[in-house]
């Protein structure tokens, strides 16, 4: 569920963002509280709180005093924008590095992408951050 590459609060924040992208939490819907997340995931409440606050700081969640945390209007677009920026760093850059190792140039890569698109092979979804 969590790995050792990054602090858990960051991983949890990304997971909640994933859930918003997939529509598990709709915009203006309430998300679980710090204590609910902590109990469910067996993590320290401070860690869960940090994850929620990170999303509040990013404008993805907002607080309603005395009630809880809610998904902001426009949160989905916000996350998509952020993820597209990350796409270069997390997917394109490692792709280029490996291509260089294999002696593939950009034209080769494009050809391979087109081939893969034409005949998709079921691939494991890569981690958002390279494991190495």
């Amino acid at each position: 569920m969590f790995d050792d590459s990054r602090p858990i609060f960051m991983q949890l924040a990304d997971r909640i963002a994933d859930d918003i992208l997939r529509g598990t939490y709709a915009e203006e819907e309430q998300v679980p509280s710090t204590n609910e997340l902590a109990a469910y995931l067996r993590i320290n409440p401070a860690t869960a709180g940090k994850a929620l606050n990170r999303l509040v700081d990013a404008g993805i969640l907002y607080k309603r005093r005395g009630i809880g945390m809610f998904v902001s209007g426009g949160a989905k677009a916000l996350i998509e924008g952020e993820r597209q920026q990350g796409f270069v760093q997390h997917y394109i850059a490692p792709l280029l590095a490996e291509a260089k190792n294999l002696g593939l140039d950009t034209a080769d890569i494009i050809r391979l992408i087109e081939q893969a698109e034409a005949a998709p092979t079921p691939a494991a979804r890569p981690d958002r951050e390279p494991a190495s």
Binding site: F2, D3, D4, S5, R6, P7, I8, F9, N35, A38, A39, L41, R42, I43, N44, P45, A46, T47, K50, Q89, A97, A131, S132
Partner: protein, 318 residues
């Protein structure tokens, strides 16, 4: 954050052997702190000194600003569950529960009853006949139901099966969420318990190596593997915590975080980079000076993150 426990230059020697040496810590109120380190690192000694079950050779302990030794009001605020807790010979479960209910001002009988049920602690036999796991479960019941403002658990999981350990983690988090308090627990099961913690103290040979947020330590070291010359070249000037080699190949654990440029340089040098779990990091710290050589010196070259907001946890020079 306010420090509920302060130690200043805390030292405890037994027959000239220092079990704890010059330990200066501020432990924050309302935080779950893990006490990590090898056997003999001084974890139990530190907990005994804070709870006034032992006296320091030198240095000071303060709990809520007062020295706890022979101060009932400070001692009443604390519950220390020892891993080898002793009970009077004729005690059964109900006697231990009754005694705890009298002793701890915040005792919760409903919680105690529920936990006894969950852990299936037997009521008939005397505690002396309990198995290791039953003894641990009883300690957990007393520690949690005491709802002491400061609660210490010394390796509370000994002999517990996986189900019972998960009950402990769930109950600890649930009761802590409802009744926030200061909890300090020593553990070797770091992979299993690190998520319960907010802060960690890493002890080695009686000294504090690190006192930091667990989240700052997670990912606070990495492993490099490849040709020994390339590994050592990359590691030179960085803080190497452990090194293993076979033939021309070497693997090192390096303290710090990799920048994007570091990653690129490592890839360029043909090195494999892997993450290091908190458990592996603590194990590497436990190797201490056995590393030798000159790669282990902290040159302060800026590769280290400012891991500590308290100042007192700088690694003692290696």
């Amino acid at each position: 954050m306010t420090a509920v426990i302060e130690t200043r230059g805390l030292t405890r020697s037994y027959r000239g052997q220092a079990a704890l040496e010059d330990v200066t810590l501020d432990i924050e109120q309302g935080v779950i702190t893990g006490l990590l380190g090898r056997n003999g690192a001084g974890k139990t000694t530190l907990m005994s000194l804070i709870t006034a079950q032992d006296r320091p050779s030198s240095g000071i302990v303060r709990v809520n600003g007062t020295e706890p030794f022979e101060h009932a009001e400070a001692i009443e605020q604390m519950c220390f569950v020892r891993d080898n807790q002793r009970y009077p010979d004729d005690y059964k479960l109900k006697h231990a529960i009754r005694a705890a209910a009298i002793f701890y001002p915040n005792w919760s009988q409903p919680l105690a009853d529920r936990l006894v049920e969950l852990f299936r602690i037997p009521t008939k036999p005397i505690i002396k006949k309990f198995s290791r796991g039953q003894l641990s479960a009883l300690g957990i019941v007393l520690g949690l139901a005491s709802r002491s403002p400061i609660t210490f658990f010394d390796e509370p999981y000994l002999g517990l099966d996986a189900t019972a350990r998960h009950i402990f983690y769930d109950e600890l988090l649930a009761d802590y969420a409802e009744h926030p308090r200061t909890i300090i627990l020593s553990t070797h099961l770091i992979d299993e318990m690190d998520r319960l913690l907010e802060r960690v103290i890493v002890l080695d040979r009686g000294r504090v190596l690190r006192h930091a947020d667990v989240e700052e330590l997670r990912g606070g070291a990495y492993q490099l593997a490849g040709r020994a010359t390339a590994v050592d070249g990359f590691a030179s000037g960085r803080t190497v915590l452990s090194r293993r080699a076979i033939g021309a190949l070497a693997t090192v654990v390096v303290e710090g975080r990799l920048t994007a440029e570091d990653r690129a340089a490592a890839a360029e040098a043909g090195l494999d980079v892997a993450t290091v779990s908190l458990q592996e990091l603590v194990a590497a710290y436990g190797l201490g000076d056995s590393l030798g050589g000159d790669t282990g010196t902290d040159t302060g070259s800026g590769t280290r993150e400012p891991v500590d907001r308290d100042m007192h946890s700088e690694r003692s020079g290696s």
